[in-house]
């Protein structure tokens, strides 16, 4: 069937066919392996979920919190594997638990938030490392840290889907309140909304998204998928709905193309996805029509009236 498709290029437009043939091969050939089909659509799905949340995380200024939650899930994953429970459950409990502890320590001490976050998440992470090296289980520390979407198991796919769909549904239903909470929590309170509930809602979807992305990007790089698409989009537009669309587009493109590169070049999947995302971010940073570095430079040289 693949050959039939390729041969259609040879018919009316032979030259184009010759040019497209290698690209076509490059795209089609991996799809003959079942694990690659799975890896591509799972990473595309993860790309959508992360991109949607990243808009809120970027605007709320919670990037460091995302980093914290992703590291804090490690002991949860190890314990879950050791007890034969779904990894997503352990990861969510420990990730969310860490944010609750961060909130408590911040309110109970005179420390600034970044110090509290730094102390708590590294503590959780270290505890996870200790557990992973002591508890006898078949958990591969390398896969937790760096992801393993090419070797994702059916049960892991199901957990990824459940966590991802839950995230998307919660954000879809609460999107306007969450945006108001990011923009002006005082006004949210003044009109009688429960801001405490919204704080924990956003933290739970953050933890859920990290669970979603764990198998694809791994703990170390999850934060990039949670921040970079939103940050890229934020440089390109002043409208939130456009920001969402751009964020999802750059994220899905990076995830799919990154998975291809990972296959063809035999490189880390999470790594190649995040490198692509960072390249798109760099392009946006330099060439963005309004907020790009080039534009800003031109604006400075030409005084306005």
């Amino acid at each position: 069937m693949v050959h039939a498709l390729i041969s259609t290029f040879h018919g009316p437009l032979p030259l184009l066919g010759v040019m497209l043939n290698p690209l076509w091969q490059w795209l089609i050939e991996p799809l003959q392996a079942g694990f690659m089909v799975k890896a591509i659509w799972v990473s595309a799905f993860v790309g959508v979920v992360c991109a949607v949340l990243s808009c809120y995380i970027t605007l709320k200024g919670w990037s460091l919190m995302g980093d914290a939650v992703s590291h804090a899930v490690v002991p949860g994953v190890v314990v879950a594997y050791a007890m034969g429970l779904p990894f997503a459950l352990g990861a969510f409990i420990f990730g969310f638990g860490a944010t609750v502890i961060i909130g408590y320590v911040k309110s109970a001490t005179r420390l600034k938030e970044d110090a509290v976050i730094g102390v708590i998440f590294t503590g959780f992470f270290a505890f996870g490392l200790v557990l992973a090296t002591k508890i006898p289980s078949n958990v591969d520390l390398f896969h937790i840290l760096f992801g393993n979407v090419l070797g994702i198991s059916p049960s892991d796919i199901i957990q990824t889907l459940i966590a991802g769909i839950a995230t998307l549904v919660i954000i879809l239903v609460r999107r306007k309140d969450l945006l108001l909470f990011c923009f002006d929590p005082n006004h949210a309170k003044a009109i009688g909304l429960n801001t405490q509930l919204m704080y924990y809602t956003l933290l739970s979807v953050l933890a859920l998204t990290i669970v979603t992305a764990l198998q694809t990007a791994g703990i170390v790089l999850v934060v990039a998928m949670l921040v970079t698409p939103g940050a890229t989009a934020y440089l390109l537009t002043d409208r939130f709905d456009h920001m969402l669309a751009i964020s999802v587009a750059t994220s899905v493109i990076s995830c799919v193309v990154g998975t291809y590169f990972s296959y063809h070049l035999d490189i880390s999947t999470g790594g190649s996805i995040v490198v692509l995302m960072t390249m798109l971010f760099t392009l946006a940073m330099v060439f963005a029509p309004k907020y790009g570095l080039l534009r800003q430079k031109i604006m400075r040289q030409v005084p306005v009236e």
Binding site: D184, N186, A190, I191, H242
Partner: protein
């Protein structure tokens, strides 16, 4: 409910922040309904803290606050209070337009999905019209001038249709023309029965349009009509010893500010 329970009643409020800073001590005052009341005091004297306590953003260590006879929480749920924040408290780079911000004033009336209905759109359009921001409704909020920013957030408060409107330092960083325009809008809102409380450290302007004044420095030092409150003794008690000439307070009688309709809504 008797009418004298309307307005804002502040009884023995003390607020201590988590760094053990005592921002307010035993403050009591009463904001009469249907008036414009100015809250005056030095920076760090607790103006913002009192505002934040009335709005329910800060919980007091002791004391009680009632808005039109209701607790702060009930007042929030019933959309009794609107708040116009200080310019410094807003993220002007946030990707929202003027119309988006004004629509946020209507969220309390919408269902959980916050899908605006016909009445919500009408109120937003009317508020934008009244503050003269219709032409700027699609602008991202950071692309506005200082005065336009204030008017956008005033429009949000108006769209909320709250009986009580609090404005935190509404005249900071705006030119004389915009200040006059905001004052005109506030006078209109008072005529419509709204209760307005605003904080400022601009003493000269307050005596021109505030019916009543509350002097605050850690606690309420004086309150009453602006004419009786603005005495040299009260002001030096509030601000320490300042020369009266720098304040220029009592030249214009309160309530005498001309409510002109010509010089609004044109830009």
């Amino acid at each position: 409910m008797r009418s004298d329970t309307f307005g804002i009643t502040v009884e023995n409020i003390s607020v201590t922040y988590s760094n053990a800073h005592l921002a307010l001590y035993n403050a009591s005052c009463y904001v009469q309904p249907g008036t414009i009341t100015g809250l005056v005091g030095p920076n760090g004297g607790g103006k913002s803290t009192l505002f934040r306590t009335i709005m329910g953003f800060v919980n007091p260590n002791q004391g009680r606050i009632h808005i039109d006879g209701l607790s702060v929480k009930m007042a929030q749920k019933r959309q009794l209070m609107a708040y116009v924040p200080q310019a410094d408290d807003v993220d002007w780079n946030f990707p929202v337009s003027v119309a988006d911000v004004v629509m946020m004033g209507r969220y309390g009336y919408m269902n959980m999905l916050r899908i605006p209905g016909r009445e919500d759109r009408r109120q937003v359009a009317e508020s934008l019209e009244r503050v003269g921001m219709v032409d700027f409704r699609h602008r991202q909020i950071g692309e506005l001038s200082g005065g336009q920013k204030k008017r956008a957030f005033l429009a949000r408060a108006m769209a909320q249709k709250s009986r009580v409107i609090l404005l935190d330092e509404p005249f900071t960083g705006v030119d004389v023309k915009t200040e006059k325009r905001i004052v005109n809008l506030l006078l209109q809102l008072r005529e419509e029965g709204h209760t307005i409380l605003l904080s400022t450290h601009d003493l000269a302007s307050i005596s021109t349009f505030c019916d009543r004044t509350i002097l605050l420095n850690r606690t309420v030092l004086a309150e009453g009509t602006t004419a009786e409150t603005f005495t040299e003794e009260n002001l030096s008690m509030t601000f320490g010893s300042l020369p009266l000439s720098s304040l220029n307070p009592t030249q214009v009688m309160p309530n005498q500010y001309p409510l002109s309709t010509q010089d609004q809504l044109t830009d």
